[in-house]
């Protein structure tokens, strides 16, 4: 079939839709993990954020936060980053284990890495169904530092060509307290083009 002309605006729509699809799945996975108690989930906000504002996402570039970083390789590649503040991380660890493990000790870190894994994997599953691509996530990495330093590093690692980044804001309310997090998807330029083409062709069949 002939190649459809694809506008920048349309690409942005696809990016947002990539976000919506994944956010639903990722949040469902997280609430399943927390199924010992009632979990209320806010509808995830999906937004395209200017690159220069990314380091301030967590309420200030200098704020100390926890970042979980996962690289995904296949025919296409992109990067997922899950960011939470210390309070939310503490609540999450307590909700999942039923115990107050300190977030920065082995058990706490391990729980957070696993959450990063599950959230990212469920996101990838959704995208994989739609595009018929196989995604291979690498093991997650966890880091604690200034939000600006973490996000700046991620942007540099991905050699980000875009001036806008896809951001999903997720929030849960559990019996143990509120959990707020940011989930960032940073595809590289070719990835976006490939996925747009697959989705457009899929929709036309």
């Amino acid at each position: 079939m002939p190649e459809l002309p694809i506008s920048e605006e349309f690409k942005l729509d696809v990016l947002k839709e990539m976000g919506n699809i994944g956010a639903g799945n990722a949040t469902t996975a997280l609430s399943t993990l927390l199924n010992y108690e009632r979990v209320n989930m806010h509808v995830p906000e999906v937004d395209l954020c200017p690159l220069v504002d990314i380091p301030d996402l967590m309420g200030g570039a200098e704020k100390s936060v926890i970042g979980i970083y996962i690289r995904v390789f296949s025919e296409v590649s992109f990067y997922a980053v899950f960011l939470i503040d210390f309070e939310s991380a503490q609540t999450l660890v307590a909700s999942l284990t039923g115990k107050k493990y300190p977030v920065m000790e082995e058990m706490g870190r391990s729980v957070l890495l696993e959450v990063g894994n599950i959230v990212t994997a469920s996101y990838l599953n959704a995208l994989s169904h739609l595009t018929n691509l196989t995604f291979l996530p690498e093991p997650p990495l966890l880091v604690v530092d200034m939000a600006g330093a973490i996000l700046g590093t991620v942007l540099a690692e991905t050699n980000v060509a875009e001036d806008y980044i896809l951001v999903l804001k997720t929030a849960f309310v559990t019996a143990a307290g509120d959990i707020e997090g940011n989930f960032l998807i940073i595809p590289d330029q070719n990835t976006l083009d490939i996925i747009v083409r697959l989705l457009v062709n899929g929709a036309c069949q």
């Binding site: 570039a61 100390s64 330093a149 700046g152 590093t153 690692e157 001036d163």
Partner: protein
């Protein structure tokens, strides 16, 4: 006039006589502070990547070492700085995530690119705190050109 200007990621700013230039959260990014002590002209850039020529359409010149530093220099000359009087201090270029691959990290590439560009422009580096695995905040005081670095959980120090 004693204001402070915040330099965001992939951004730069210049200032004369007094006040402060600050950039927060340098991870693998490199902060480049240039200062002319005679004219009291200061400039600070927050550089994200090393080389604009690797991109098909580099949109923002302030993002890359090879284009941001000449741009910063130009702006400083506009408000009275002389290239021959400039001194540089640099910070950042750390590796926050411990990847297992042994390739050169983005931080190291950025440091190397910044050093090369400064050498080409014949601007000496008189202070630095680079590498490692922590994020940094960099403050440049316009009045005297002092540069102060802070990291999570550590005291501020001058470089």
């Amino acid at each position: 006039m004693n204001e402070q200007i915040r330099v965001k990621i992939a951004d730069y700013a210049v200032k004369k006589e007094e006040g402060m230039l600050i950039t927060v959260g340098l991870g693998s990014c490199v902060g480049v502070a240039l200062y002319d002590s005679f004219a009291k002209v200061a400039g600070l850039a927050h550089i994200l990547l090393s080389d604009s020529t690797l991109f098909k359409t580099p949109s923002n010149p302030a993002k890359f070492a090879d284009t941001a530093i000449p741009l910063l220099l130009e702006q400083m000359i506009c408000i009275g700085a002389k290239p021959t009087r400039l001194k540089a201090k640099i910070a950042g270029g750390s590796q926050l995530f411990s990847f297992e691959r042994s390739m050169t990290s983005v931080g190291e590439k950025n440091i190397c690119a910044v050093r090369n560009v400064l050498a080409l422009l014949r601007i000496p580096i008189t202070g630095e705190e680079v590498g490692g695995s922590v994020g940094r905040t960099m403050k440049l005081f316009v009045q005297h050109g002092k540069v102060v670095i802070s990291t999570v959980g550590l005291e501020e120090r001058e470089i």
